[in-house]
Symmetry: C2
Subunit: 400 residues, 2 copies
């Protein structure tokens, strides 16, 4: 990493002009930085004709807390390699990497600026009828083709080593799976929630269930996960869905990505009660979110089952009964992780704009109380759910 | 590995004289090779006063099948590093590494020649009253100190990468967890066993349970395992127990080592019916084997529990309820793997002398039938067992 230097906008223009053939030599290029994440700089370089490309560079520290929280630049390699790996098996739903440079911890990406970030769009009440179907394809294909069902054990072990990602995983281990449940000064919630938080943190059944989910996150390398599938990592429009930002990628439990996504849909569901004043519009939106969730989980199970039936390479895992039992456990894990996501986005360090931009304080607090109750119900009841239909039923009970 | 050259006895003498201070310059050294394994050369270098040292060198192929099965020399590094890691936490029960040379794929080891290989001694009907207690200490300490209870997630991930061991793991994946259950030309059993083997391989519940055990072996890096704890990897005498040969070491499910050892005790138990003609002596030996098994499992659970209570570093795993649930699962895994060991040593490629040296063919067949029945019972009933006492009860049912 000795060559590393943090780019300015001029550096970005020079780099793109030198390393791609997208622009003509005499194009007048403009560039602006618009990273809203905390770990990276993101530049858009465009010419006068509106052609553009994204240059993303990892910073050697977490921007939200300044230079006091150093982070490995190796995450740029992980991110690029995860995008490339996921592109091979779900090209329609993975942002395209045009080039990457490990020394400078940067990559060039297709510009998805004509699409919207899912979280922003959902906060505006927009519907995306194909989202569930697309996410199911992405989850099933990325999970199956990097699992023991498909990879030889030797290839899988090499990939596990390639994607060992200690620093980014630790952020999840701490912020997602530990702090909200055991208490930590990094936690972040209004004083009014203290009674609920205190009750949650003293619930021993909940702590036991979350410890099992954390243990799996640490020691269950089932597949190459994206590692951070929240609504801010997804570009959408009416016809397409594309995942970005897998810098948290590592080999972990299949249910983690699916659970993170489900959790984000449910956060938006709960938040809409405080966001949309038109009751009909709100109900329609919430119905759409639940449908998306159902299509995602049932589509994931169905497509993974089909992939396993057709392309399973390991004779020990070829039985349909085994595959069914395996997927049932994946679904249960996903439900558990979705509950963690609801809780950690409510009381942990990193929140979501779905909830935090609800201007009415009372309405916001009601949403936060609801996400906490729902999150706990999901974690505590996950092991009773064996099908997507039962998950829909569980959600129906707790959302009505 | 460009420096690698397979040693002769003269090379071994020269290497030891040059690289240790054990012998005087004018000592007359003798050397002989006595490796009974298939993957390595093992030399004993001694002087006229009876001082001695072991030089173990990995061969670049599996000796039993000649040069047609090439194997990485990296396993010498894995073996040396695993011995060093296990020595730190269970020094009394791990063979001492004096030096190791990665280029030559060799290491110098303390000579344990004054002790006996457990399998040989047990085949002769010898008792080792401290064996269970020693193995419990070894299993509990090596498992705990390399687990998520003790290691930081970052340190653990680094160790997981250090001990990725694809080639040796594949031998276990194939010979231990696949071939005997799905059928393979490598399997090795008398024609008379065909009906039992055929029945075993068509038992779908068994295949489902074994698939789960294989999935855990592939994707559950709970701790740094020895990876090959059979009775031939254990030196014993009346006061000491020392583990050797961890070239199969990798991060896997804690129950695997414990299960392998239990399986070997039960193989010897079953084999004694065909070995010892004196009924009183045989019953005493079998009783001793069961006691050793009980002391090992209950001692393991007790000592792991104590270590977790005193030295758990991860706040999420500090609850006694979680630790108990975790150890229950470990015990169930161990029982499952012990059943696999009984079956694969009966019908798979690699057998044990416990059974194979029973000269009476009928008696040998009866033992083989019994290990097959017992192995299946253990795999199929593992999930019903929650304590070591219940395991003792399960064994009592099936051995009487």
């Amino acid at each position: 990493m000795s060559q590393y230097v943090a780019f300015t906008e001029q550096d970005a223009i020079r780099y793109v002009q030198k390393n791609t053939t997208l622009f003509n030599i005499d194009d007048s290029l403009t560039c602006y930085e618009f990273g809203d994440g905390n770990l990276n700089m993101v530049f858009r370089v465009s010419n006068q004709a509106g052609q553009s490309i994204i240059l993303k560079q990892a910073l050697p520290y977490a921007r939200c807390v300044g230079e006091s929280w150093p982070l490995t630049l190796d995450r740029a390699r992980i991110e690029a390699e995860a995008l490339l790996a996921h592109s091979k098996v779900s090209p329609g739903h993975t942002a395209k990497v045009i080039a990457y440079n490990p020394e400078l911890a940067l990559m060039l990406l297709e510009d998805l600026g004509h699409m919207q970030i899912l979280r922003t769009a959902q906060n505006q009440g927009q519907h995306f009828p194909l989202l569930g179907q697309h996410m199911a394809h992405y989850f099933a294909n990325t999970a199956f083709y990097h699992s023991d069902f498909y990879l030889t054990a030797q290839r899988k072990k090499a990939l596990v080593a390639q994607f060992i990602n200690p620093e980014l995983c630790q952020i999840t281990e701490d912020l997602f799976l530990t702090d909200p449940f055991v208490g930590h000064e990094r936690n972040n919630y209004p004083a009014e929630l203290e009674p609920e938080v205190s009750k949650l943190q003293s619930n021993t059944s909940l702590r036991l269930a979350v410890a099992k989910l954390k243990s799996k996150f640490l020691s269950c390398p089932q597949t190459l996960l994206h590692g951070d599938v929240h609504s801010g990592s997804i570009f959408v429009d009416q016809s397409q869905t594309k995942l970005i930002d897998p810098e948290f990628a590592f080999f972990g439990p299949i249910g983690f990505d699916l659970g993170s996504f489900i959790g984000n849909l449910l956060i938006n569901y709960c938040a809409q009660t405080g966001r949309m004043s038109d009751e009909t519009a709100r109900q329609t939106m919430q119905q759409h979110l639940l449908e998306t969730l159902n299509i995602t989980t049932s589509g994931f199970v169905q497509q993974f089952t089909e992939l396993a039936a057709q392309h399973c390479q390991d004779i020990s895992f070829a039985d349909a009964t085994y595959q069914q039992a395996f997927l049932q456990q994946v679904l249960q894990d996903a439900i558990g992780y979705s509950g963690c996501e609801l809780i950690r986005r409510t009381i942990g360090l990193a929140h979501t704009s779905d909830i935090d931009t609800i201007s009415d304080e009372k309405a916001r607090l009601a949403v936060q109380q609801r996400t906490l109750v729902l999150g706990q119900a999901l974690i505590l009841n996950a092991q009773q759910v064996t099908t997507s239909a039962q998950l829909a039923e569980l959600l129906h009970q707790h959302l009505n």
